[in-house]
């Protein structure tokens, strides 16, 4: 029966079996989007729909960060008028969305991926190049 154990105990038993890297999808240009293709290594671990939903939400969040619209133009023009000195004191729109993304990934890890022995790494830690999914070995505890 699966029980909740502290990470310390887990690390002693759960070794990393593999890492899967979800690459960027450049079909729409240089905007930050990740491929929604389901990697074969995760077939036994997680539902395809669930995974694609996670990646799709991530893509939407990044699209929101990079959206060209009224508010981003306003921020850009204001920055230009102040000789870009407001960047020293103000948090940009992109940074605010990055915080949202970090929270989203943590939630996903807690609710969906950790119970299945998986761990998502925030793409910002990998230079927005890949979404790294760490697969832990499954080992049933003999107690």
């Amino acid at each position: 029966m699966a029980e909740t154990h502290s990470l310390q105990d887990m690390r002693q038993q759960a070794a990393i079996a593999a890492k899967v890297f979800i690459q960027r999808d450049y079909t729409n240009g240089t905007v930050c989007q990740f491929q929604t293709k389901f990697p074969s290594e995760l077939e036994t671990r997680i539902d395809k729909q669930q995974f694609e939903e996670t990646v799709r939400t991530l893509n939407n969040l990044y699209a929101e960060a990079e959206k060209l619209g009224g508010s981003s133009y306003l921020e850009g023009c204001l920055a230009c008028l102040t000789a870009y000195t407001i960047f020293l004191c103000m948090e940009t729109h992109y940074e605010k969305v990055l915080k949202k993304i970090a929270k989203f990934i943590q939630e996903q890890n807690d609710k969906i991926y950790a119970p299945r022995g998986l761990l998502l790494t925030d793409p910002i830690e990998r230079g927005l190049r890949v979404v790294e999914v760490t697969i832990f070995e499954d080992r049933s505890l003999g107690r």
Partner: protein, 363 residues
């Protein structure tokens, strides 16, 4: 069907006190920041807040020329022009000067969009993909990847230094030894690469510098004209005002290049090109046969301007001021541990707990 038991990994199970025992000796060692071990050829100041290329040779010259010329202008020409014309002249000159210097410093000290090098796991994964798709003969597999961007075929090259396929519009700067996103060029006058994150500062610098040099040139010409009309001719006016002559010479020679550069970059921004792409002629071969082959353009000059200069400011991808995990974690475990995303970036207590786990695992 395999009867697997997946153990719940409790992400909040890190704060167990027993783990801190083995790492008390680690607390003595100062935590190092990531900029101290940055692999590119860059220099860092103010504890990682300011980044410069290693060879920033001409930046002091650029700053010096601007400050000296402006200083001479304010000291020698402005008093005469204020009394004879208007007080607006030093005000406008001052505003332009502030714009020029701030944009220059922002261009020089901002991370241009450097891509961090891949970690060993990711590099190995990419290598594996290249090997499986390559031919089985002795000929090494080609290190390029073709992708479709907006129905246009674009080749991505593999970077041997950074061990990854470069994203589109990214280029490796040999002077800084970094891959830079939306690489425009490496500017020695500014002492840094010009890329995605600092292109707007660079453009603002050259445009404001064009206005500033033109303004000073115009004012100095007005000054000398007024003096020569009121006094004994132009030659005497020139002899009596050596500072103005110096400014005239500097401005005259700078204006051609600066105005030319501003015009060139305005054209690049209007068509959403980079200097790198323009020089290599990446998209020009298609012009004439079909509409512009550039897949990144919005096909509207105004939108291109807005997107390039007023778009959202992307974040720096190299975490300069983040802390490194201490070196005495054995390399194998360090790679596995990485940095779990749910830790706060500078939360050293949590990191020390992690090291504790690592040590207890290998003990």
């Amino acid at each position: 069907m395999k009867n697997c038991e997946y153990q719940q990994i409790d992400p909040r199970g890190l704060s167990t006190p027993s783990s801190t025992q083995p790492c008390t000796e680690n607390n003595v060692q100062r935590s190092r920041r990531k900029w101290e071990v940055f692999p590119g050829k860059n220099r860092f100041y103010c504890d990682g807040r300011i980044i410069l290329a290693r060879q920033s040779g001409i930046l002091p010259l650029t700053l010096g020329l601007i400050i000296v010329t402006s200083g001479l202008f304010f000291a020698f020409d402005c008093p005469f022009l204020v009394t004879h014309l208007t007080v607006c002249i030093p005000v406008i000159g001052g505003v332009l000067f502030v714009f020029v210097v701030t944009s220059l410093l922002q261009t020089s000290f901002t991370d241009p969009g450097i891509l961090p090098r891949t970690l060993p796991d990711e590099a190995a994964d990419i290598e594996k993909q290249i090997d499986t798709s390559g031919s089985s003969t002795y000929h090494p597999p080609p290190r390029t990847k073709e992708i479709l961007i907006n129905q246009q075929v674009v080749k991505l090259k593999y970077c041997f230094t950074c061990k990854m396929f470069r994203p589109p519009r990214t280029s490796h700067c040999s002077m800084c030894d970094n891959c830079v996103e939306r690489f425009d060029h490496h500017c020695p006058w500014v002492g840094n690469c010009v890329g995605k994150r600092n292109y707007r500062f660079f453009y603002s610098f050259i445009v404001s510098l064009s206005f500033h040099t033109s303004f000073i040139f115009g004012c100095v010409v007005t000054h000398l004209t007024l003096r020569s009309q009121g006094g004994n001719g132009l030659v005497l006016a020139l002899q009596e005002n050596p500072a103005s002559v110096v400014e005239l010479v500097i401005c005259f020679f700078s204006i051609w290049s600066i105005l030319g550069l501003s015009g060139f970059h305005t054209y690049l921004v209007a068509f959403n090109l980079t200097t790198n792409e323009d020089i290599k002629g990446s998209w020009s071969s298609k012009r004439g046969a079909e509409d512009s082959g550039n897949p990144y353009t919005y096909d509207n000059i105004f939108t291109n301007f807005c997107a390039t200069l007023c778009g959202p400011m992307p974040p720096s991808l190299i975490d300069r001021r983040g802390f490194l995990p201490p070196e005495d974690i054995p390399p194998a475990v360090a790679v596995d541990m990485g940095r779990p995303p749910f830790l706060a970036k500078n939360d050293t207590n949590m990191e020390e707990n992690c090291q504790g786990f690592a040590l207890s695992c290998t003990a």
